[in-house]
Every structure is written in structure tokens, then in C-alpha cells.
């Protein structure tokens, strides 16, 4: 029993460095073949030709591509992603500064999405074909088809501009800037650690709206998957067995049916979370959320290639890590795989 399981784990583990290498290679190549001249981004387009040539030499851009890649890889393993032209910080420092904001947003979003999406998915499946199922279908369909920037703008218009019940864009009121020391980088957590309740409530209020918008899409996805899984499982013979045992409907639904899909849902949840970590670009832009997505967009528009490559790598590694996590959880929790 243990050997095939260990083998599968070993295979999964072995695939990680290969995938990582591929990720770095592809990211690097895309960065280099883009018709963007990183030299121009640094010196500007009015610099004399000898300055341009010198900077090109300093950046190692005269070397063949594989040498450049080798140098990049060598620095990468030492944790050096180069310096951002735009912020003049190292890319690593920038990522440490921006990534927690994205994490905070994505984490809040996935919590909202799971807390809403999974129960309504179960409800829709149990009441299949009823009016409530149709209502849920419309809600989730909207979540799939509405572009996120439309929803984000509508949300800002309604809750911020018209009703004035939500704070505007940004991560916190500028009055509170730098009031709590950065420990985790998650503003809600740091303010709690510092015991600054005002900062906490402000950060939370700023978080709710972008997280809610972001959550809507994951919620729709989770609800639809939950409904499909539940419908499939509720047809199972063991559901009739559970009912024949005289169990309550709640127990039949949650213990027997939901218990069978929980593991699959955890995998989906992990992947949805990874998707949120990388895919919050538009939401971050609309809500001026100083996260990795915004950093990536601005870097790209400024031809700041070190920053673009670094941020892309972080996103890729995060996705990979969650894929691996989902895989491991599945093996760990499902008795049939175990």
C-alpha cells in the first residue's frame, strides 16, 4: 500500500524543480523577446549613443541569450532579482512590500467566496429545479459573465459615490499611513498586533469592497462546482442507504453527501485561491490597491523588465505551490487515494 503512494509523492516532488525551471525559462524568454528596450527605459530616449552603449554593456545585454539566462539564473538562486528602474529598490524588496497587500485581498476574498459559495451550491443541488435553484443559477451566471472591472466600478459608484457607506479606493486612510509597524505586511493583522483598533477598522473597511468584488467571481465558480459535485453525489446509492438508516436530512446532506465532495472542494478552493493571488490585477487597479498586480502592471507599462520578471516569477511560484498543496491535501484526505 505504502510503496505506490510514496512513488506518487516522489513523482510529484520530482516534477517541482522541472516545472520551476520551465517557468523561469519561459518568463525570461518572454521578457527578452518583447520589443522593449530596457536600456531606453533607464537612460531615456534622448541619451547620447555612447551612454546607451555603455548601459547596454553594464546590463550584459550584449551577451548571447543563453549566457544572459545563465547569469539571471545564477543571481536568482542567490535571491537576487535585480533592481527595479521605477522604484529604484531591489525587486525582492518591492515584492515583499507589495505582495502582502495582494495576499490580504485574496485571502479575504477566498474566505467570503467559500463561506457563501459552498452553502449556496449545496442548497441549489438539494433544491434542484426549484425557484431558489434558478435564482442561484442567475447569480452565479452573472459572476461568470460579468467583466470584473464593470462590477468593480458599479460597486464603487453605488457604495462609495452614491450611498457613501464604503471608503474609497486605496488600502487605508492616508492619515493612518505608517502608523503600525510592518510585521506580516497584512494591514488588518499588523494593526491588531499593534492594538490600533482605529487602524484595524479602517483597513477592514477598505478591504471589504475590493475583496467582495473579487470574491463574487470565486463564489460563483465555487457554487457551480459545489452544485455539480453535490448533484452527482446525491444520486449515489449510499445516499439511499443513509436515508434508509433513518438519518435526518441535514445529516444525509452534510455528513454523507458533502463529506464525499469535501476533498474535491478543498483542491478547487486551493486553486481558486492561487488564481486570486495572481489574478487580482484589474481589481487592484480599479481600487488603487497597492498589490502585486498593480506593481506588475505599472512595471510593464514602464518597461521595467526586472520587476516584471520578478513579479511574474512570484505569481508562477505561488500557483505552483498551491497546485502542489492541493495535490498533497487530496492524497492526505481522501481514503480512496491514501
Amino acid at each position: 500500500m505504502a510503496t505506490p503512494r510514496l512513488k506518487a509523492l516522489a513523482a510529484t516532488a520530482a516534477s517541482v524543480p522541472i516545472t520551476l525551471f520551465g517557468l523561469v525559462l519561459v518568463t525570461f524568454l518572454i521578457g527578452r523577446v518583447m520589443p522593449i528596450d530596457p536600456v531606453l527605459a533607464i537612460v531615456g530616449d534622448r541619451a547620447p549613443a555612447d551612454v546607451v552603449a555603455q548601459v547596454r554593456l553594464e546590463l550584459g545585454l550584449d551577451e548571447p541569450l543563453y549566457v544572459q539566462f545563465w547569469i539571471y539564473l545564477g543571481k536568482l538562486v542567490q535571491g537576487d532579482l535585480g533592481r527595479s528602474v521605477m522604484t529604484s529598490h531591489t525587486v525582492v524588496d518591492d515584492i515583499i512590500r507589495f505582495f502582502p497587500a495582494t495576499m490580504e485581498l485574496a485571502t479575504a476574498a477566498i474566505i467570503i467566496a467559500a463561506l457563501l459559495g459552498i452553502p449556496i451550491g449545496v442548497l441549489a443541488a438539494v433544491k434542484q429545479g426549484s425557484r431558489i435553484d434558478h435564482v442561484i443559477r442567475v447569480i452565479t451566471l452573472a459572476g461568470h459573465s460579468l467583466p470584473i472591472f464593470v462590477l468593480a466600478l458599479i460597486s464603487l459608484l453605488v457604495f462609495y459615490a452614491t450611498l457613501e457607506i464604503a471608503p474609497g479606493p486605496g488600502r487605508q486612510n492616508i492619515l493612518f499611513d505608517d502608523m503600525v509597524p510592518t510585521i506580516t505586511g497584512l494591514l488588518t493583522v499588523d494593526s491588531l498586533i499593534a492594538g490600533e483598533w482605529e487602524v484595524f477598522w479602517d483597513a477592514l473597511a477598505h478591504l471589504v469592497q475590493p475583496a467582495g468584488v473579487l470574491a463574487y467571481f470565486s463564489m460563483a465558480y465555487l457554487a457551480r462546482m459545489t452544485r455539480a459535485f453535490m448533484l452527482d453525489t446525491l444520486k449515489g446509492e449510499f445516499i439511499i442507504t443513509a436515508r434508509a438508516k433513518g438519518l435526518s436530512p441535514a445529516r444525509v446532506i452534510w455528513k454523507h453527501a458533502f463529506g464525499n465532495i469535501a476533498v474535491r472542494l478543498i483542491t478547487i478552493l486551493a486553486l481558486a485561491y492561487a488564481g486570486l493571488l495572481e489574478g487580482a490585477v484589474i481589481t487592484e487597479t480599479v481600487f488603487s490597491w497597492p498589490g502585486l498586480g498593480q506593481y506588475l502592471t505599472i512595471s510593464l507599462l514602464n518597461a521595467d523588465m526586472n520587476a516584471v520578471l520578478g513579479a511574474t516569477l512570484v505569481v508562477g511560484v505561488t500557483y505552483l505551490a498551491f497546485n502542489l498543496l492541493a495535490d498533497l491535501l487530496y492524497r492526505l484526505l481522501d481514503p480512496r487515494v491514501r
Partner: protein, 275 residues
Amino acid sequence: MDINIQNLTIDFPTAQGTSQAVRGVSMKIGREKFGIVGESGSGKSLTARSILRLLPDSAIVRADALTFDGIDVMRADESAMRAIRGRRAGLIMQDPKFSLNPVMTAGAQIEEAVRAHTKAGRREAREKAIDLLAQVQIRDPRRVADAYPHELSGGMGQRVMIAMMLAPDPELLIADEPTSALDATVQAEILRLLDNLVSSRGMALVLISHDLPLVSHFCDRVAVMYAGRVVEELKAADLAHAKHGYTRGLLECLPTLSQEKRRLNVMARDPAWLA
């Protein structure tokens, strides 16, 4: 305990109108071993499941009477039905591969049945479950209790299923083709086990099968169903004197070891049987 079914009909809505799965079935079952025999689609499973009201949601059920020990199953509310299901009547289905919950251990599933109907605590339920596993002649009940269904053979799975349904000491056991998914040698063991348990506990048994000789061997009375109707009901001992063409046809199709090798009969179906 007695079951009274009068003029039961079960319809299913389809795109082309309604399909009649059960068409006016009547039977009375007491504390006995009662067999229902028929081919696939004859309505035998639906008839038996209607006693516990465990039919698909789309089923349209009508009956002049459908009672379990005087309780009107047609009108009882869910909690009244739950007091019957498991507690007073158990249901064993064909294939334990599908009828056991794949992500719960065998022990947990039996404990759940114990705790659903008694005030037993966790540990007490566990002991009861292991005792039940021993009663269905599992040699290593503690190990099996911790096993998941996919780790058990078909015969073991069906024993777990029986143990689970016997847990609350029901008065009636409905066994819906309990051995069809098992190997021939295991079939006999499971049937003998069922027979012993039912007899020693003084329970009633409704055995559903397509195997006419098997049912007549185990049961006191047999109802033969064809196309949603009971075409013949008789004492198991009188099977050889069956009058209905369908029953006779079934018997004539059976191969025997004693007679010479020859082509088996093919049932000639009389359209009049459908009436």
C-alpha cells in the same frame, strides 16, 4: 408488524407522457419471509422501497392503502418516516461498492446507525458495532471496523451492510437483490447468514430477486411480478404448481443438471400478460 399494500401505482413523468412502473400492486406481508420475483423493470424494487418511501423524487405514487404496522406511509410526515426507516425496517441493496459511503469507515457507518436510534455514547456505539460485525461472522471485526469500503471484498461489504441495518433491531428487513453482485460461493454464505439472522431474531424478510428457485428456497411465500403487476402469488412450496404463464415460462427456462443436454427454452411472452 404487518404491511398492507392495496392497488399501488407508481408513475414517472417522461418527455412522452407518464411511464407506469407499478400498475396496481396489492400485497399483505406479515412476520414471514416474503419473496418478490421478477425481471428487471418489473417494479419489484420500487414496490418494496415504497414501503419506506425511498422512491426518487420524481415518482408519482398512488395507492388505496400503503401502511406499515398501521402507519399510513402515504401521509406520514418525514419524522414519522424516519422513526420507521432504520429503526423498524432496514434496507439492504445490491452492491456494497455503491451502497456504502466510500469516505467513512465501516465501523463509523455502523456506529452511526446505532446512535441514530439509541442514546448510546461514542464508545458504547463502537462496542456495539464491533459486536454486530462479529454477529455477521466477520472474523476480525476490529480491523474491519477501521477499514474503508474499498478495502473490503464484496462479501465483506455486504456483511457490513447487514450489520448496519440490524443495528437498531428492526422488525423488517428488505433485501433488494442482496447477492446479485457477489460471487456464487459468497452468495450462498450471505443468504445463509441472512436466513439465520432473520430466523433467530424473529424478523420479517422481504427478499427481492430475479432468481426464482433461490427465492422459493428461502421464502415462505412468493409474489411474481411482471410489467408492474403481481401476476401470481403463491406459497413457495407450491411453485411447481404455478398457474401463470410467465411463472411457468420462467421455470421452464431453467437448466438442470439431471436432464440431457439440449437447447434451453426461450420464454414466449404472451401480450395478454401486459393487460
